[in-house]
């Protein structure tokens, strides 16, 4: 296999594995802060016991998240050196800022939060947990700023060093040719425009609300186990209520931010949105497929559709025109790369600038439907609560709910994975949107066998880490003993 494909596989594997953990820790950190705040307010020790317990689980998940993240940081250099050199001036700074401002904060105060219960006062401990939580969120801010630069680059200019050695600045929105790439780099012109680029805020809010859901559902699942199997544990009910409220707030937040992100895509990355919907021909009253299959060769989608709803989703009205993939990217854009081509020739090369449509279509749907399942589950919880059956385990409905809660902890994590896959694969063939192609950014130094070795190595390690990590967390939950706390 080629270096290009292997590097993509390697990055998908490591990034996908990494992204299992940070959403849970981000969500859980805020939940622990809430628990401790409630302990401070009410003085009820059950909350403190819960905070202590969840911190222990947090620590295991956090450690795996951190170390798989280090892998990603260095992979930009090992596998994507052309990319790193090209955008280093822009992309390196959010990563470095993340490390300086977020990583020190979260990991040092995590140490204090876990080991310092008997060494600092209540309020100091709360402050440590709060700083840890702020740290995890800051880390999300900067990593998403960096990632959003790849989606909607802004606040930079392209400097090209021509063969005579003079540096010229390429025109706005120019696409450097393959010959220019080794001598071109993106340079910051405005830091805030770069960091808070067009899609950053929407993507941050959407990712963070999804992360809160991951944390809330994790907590709900743990509480479900405690309620069913360990009735002697005091904090279960109170903690479960807090987790349910937390997931209720997050789910509302998530729906709004999800819709916002989709609407923004229509403006900033229309190819991606049209790929999500398998929308080939430009039309008014564009259909939204409830379920379907994209035949990429015939450029057709077969399935169950709701006419006009895609227009409604993207532009807020049924009769709005939505550009299809056959018109995306536009002729003007393609002419920058293929100057002198006739419109027919442009149509022929256009599919090279589409992401894998069916993959995007299906992963996007998977994310949305899992989101729907999350909403239903939360509604179910509130329904039981309303009728005071939530903790009355005499009722079958209550037992069933908590049994389901144990397994539904996986729902938001899976949704995050699908959403992330859709967002990143939907960006293809670009590594930096409309500027640098992924295939041009890959390493020329490493050989295919080296990369294959790394893939095998990481697969084995990740399998072991995942298995053992789950086992340790499981042991910590099942072995929980009130007296130890």
């Amino acid at each position: 296999m080629e270096v290009d494909l292997l590097s993509r596989i390697q990055f998908a594997l490591t990034a996908g594995f990494h992204f299992l953990f940070p959403p849970i820790t981000i969500g859980l950190s805020l939940f622990i802060v809430v628990l401790e705040a409630m302990f401070l307010r009410s003085g009820e020790t059950a909350y403190r016991a819960a905070a202590k317990f969840f911190l222990k689980l947090f620590a295991v998940i956090f450690a795996i998240g951190v170390v798989t993240g280090i892998v990603l940081e260095f992979e930009f250099g090992t596998n994507w050196p052309v990319y790193s050199r090209f955008v280093g001036d822009v992309f390196g700074s959010p990563l470095a800022i993340e490390a300086v401002f977020a990583f020190f904060m979260e990991s040092v105060f995590l140490g204090i939060a876990i080991w310092g219960w008997n060494r600092v006062g209540r309020k100091a401990h709360f402050a440590a947990t709060l700083l840890m939580c702020i740290g995890t969120h800051l880390s999300a801010v900067w990593i998403i700023a960096a990632n959003s630069f790849m989606q909607t680059p802004g606040g930079f200019e392209l400097q090209y060093e021509n063969p005579s050695g003079a540096v010229e600045i390429l025109a706005d929105s120019a696409v450097p040719t393959a010959a220019q790439i080794p001598y071109t780099r993106a340079v910051i012109t405005d830091f805030w425009d770069m960091a808070f680029n067009a899609s950053m805020m929407d993507r941050f809010l959407h990712t963070v609300s999804a992360s809160w859901l991951c944390g809330a559902f994790f907590a709900l699942g743990v509480c479900g186990y405690m309620l069913l199997r360990k009735p002697e544990v005091r904090f279960s009910a109170q903690c479960a209520k807090a987790a349910l409220v937390y997931s209720g707030v997050s789910v509302i937040f998530m729906m709004f931010t999800g819709h916002g992100s989709a609407r923004l895509l229509a403006q900033t990355q229309p190819e991606k949105l049209s790929a999500f919907e398998g929308h080939y021909a430009t039309s008014k009253n564009a259909p939204l497929y409830i379920i379907g299959w994209v035949d990429e060769d015939a450029q057709k989608v077969s399935g169950l559709k709701a006419n006009g709803f895609f227009s409604l989703l993207a532009y807020g009205a049924f009769d709005k025109e939505v550009k299809g993939l056959r018109d995306l990217p536009s002729d003007e854009f393609l002419k920058k790369i293929h100057s002198g081509m006739s419109p027919e020739e442009l149509d022929a090369v256009r599919p090279n600038y589409w992401p894998p449509v069916n993959f995007c279509f299906q992963t996007f749907r998977a994310m949305v439907y899992l989101g729907g399942a999350i909403c239903i589950f939360v509604a179910w919880g509130f329904w039981l609560w309303l009728f005071k059956r939530l903790f009355d385990l005499k009722y079958r409905s209550s037992r069933l709910f908590w049994m389901a809660a144990m397994f539904s902890a996986a729902l938001p994590v899976c949704a995050s994975q699908f959403g992330w896959a859709a967002a990143e694969v939907g960006r293809q063939p670009w590594i930096v949107w409309h500027i640098l192609k992924t295939s041009d950014a890959v390493t020329t130094a490493a050989s295919a066998s080296e990369i294959l070795f790394s893939i095998i190595l990481f697969s084995c390690i990740f399998a072991a880490v995942a298995g053992l990590g789950v086992w340790v967390v499981y042991k910590k939950i099942t072995g929980y003993n009130e007296e130890d706390a």
Binding site: E73, F74, R119
Partner: protein, 334 residues
């Protein structure tokens, strides 16, 4: 522009020194722990690093991020050319982190006996690779690939100087870690003896490394005498630390091993200046002036470092203050 490029070169040194001062002791204690036949002693030693190791390794992450942001060309060249060693380093770091975390998480005796071995071996392996990378700074044709095969590409990094630096890093961690344990268990004669022994080993290893550097190491623009002077100067704190252990000034001893790390990093940086990748027959090398980011990025990053690094040092100081009162409670599983 030049000012900021040199500043960032110096800051890279600061971050590396931060890594050795902070992470050195937890790597070292990880290695030492397999030597403790007494289980209580081993568990207590691991409990000493429990609140800190996670924050300590951030220095390495920050150094990586800073290299990316400040010298993207060097970052991409070095990492792409050192593909397999870097991947191995990452794998070893993963092993180390999960091993420490798993060790602390559960109490079973077999469980702990297994994970302590993983902690120790991955600590040795990771420190070795970090040492090789640092040694390669001063003699760095190894940083760039030759056209040899896969194994040749991997083995090429083990030049005498780089291997010497690796040994030095491992021995330093052991010495630094044992001194830290002596500080934390000031009443115990055992730990003091252990520290003296490893400090003596460090003195010998460093002396051997000095000879190696004298004959093998390259220096660039800064006159060789200056670099060698700092190298020799770095020997002083080691001797001083040995004396402090004897006289019972344990904290001074720890400060001295830390100072040794700072001076040794400083000497290497001086030797390599202004190169990040040393020139060789096959390549003109990469210096900080051609590899750096734009002025604006360097300025922004300087501001970030100016605010962020003192803040980070503050966090560490606070954290150590919190955990300095007495030893950890005996129940080491959290």
């Amino acid at each position: 522009m030049e000012f900021f490029q040199i500043l960032w070169y110096a800051l890279m040194g600061v971050l590396l020194a931060g890594f050795f001062v902070c992470s050195g002791f937890d790597f070292g204690i990880g290695m030492l722990s397999i030597g403790f036949s007494d289980k209580r002693k081993r568990d207590n030693a691991m409990a000493e690093i429990a609140p800190f190791w996670d924050g300590n390794q951030v220095w390495l992450i920050v150094a990586g991020g800073a290299l990316f942001a400040a010298f993207p060309l060097a970052y991409s060249l070095i990492l792409a050319n050192l593909y397999t060693p870097v991947i191995l380093l990452l794998a070893l770091l993963i092993f180390r982190v999960v091993a420490i975390e798993f060790f602390l998480a559960l109490n079973g005796e077999k469980w702990r006996a297994f994970w302590i071995w993983v902690v120790a071996l991955s600590s040795i392996g990771a420190m070795t690779l970090v040492g090789i990378a640092l040694g390669a700074l001063c003699g760095g044709e190894v940083l760039l690939k030759s056209d040899g095969g896969w194994t040749e590409n991997f083995l090429r990094i083990f030049t005498p100087l780089a291997a010497g630096a690796a040994v030095l890093c491992v021995v330093f961690s052991l010495a630094h870690g044992s001194v830290y344990l002596a500080v934390k268990n000031s009443s115990s004669e055992d730990f003091r003896r252990l520290a003296s022994r490893w400090l003596a080993a460090l003195a010998v290893a460093y002396f051997a490394y000095l000879l190696l550097f004298f004959f093998n190491g390259k220096t660039a623009e800064i006159p060789r005498m200056f670099t060698l002077a700092v190298f020799v100067l770095a020997y002083m704190p080691v001797r001083f630390a040995m004396r402090s252990i004897k006289t019972g000034k344990l904290k001074t001893a720890f400060a001295m091993t830390s100072l040794f790390a700072v001076l040794a990093v400083c000497a290497h940086c001086m030797g390599a200046y202004p190169y990040i990748v040393f020139p060789s027959q096959t390549s003109p090398g990469v210096d900080i002036f051609s590899a750096s980011s734009s002025l604006l990025t360097l300025k922004i990053m300087a501001l970030v470092a100016l605010i962020g690094v003192p803040l980070a040092i503050g966090y560490f100081a606070y954290s150590h203050a919190v955990f300095s009162k007495g030893g950890n409670p005996p129940d080491t599983g959290y």
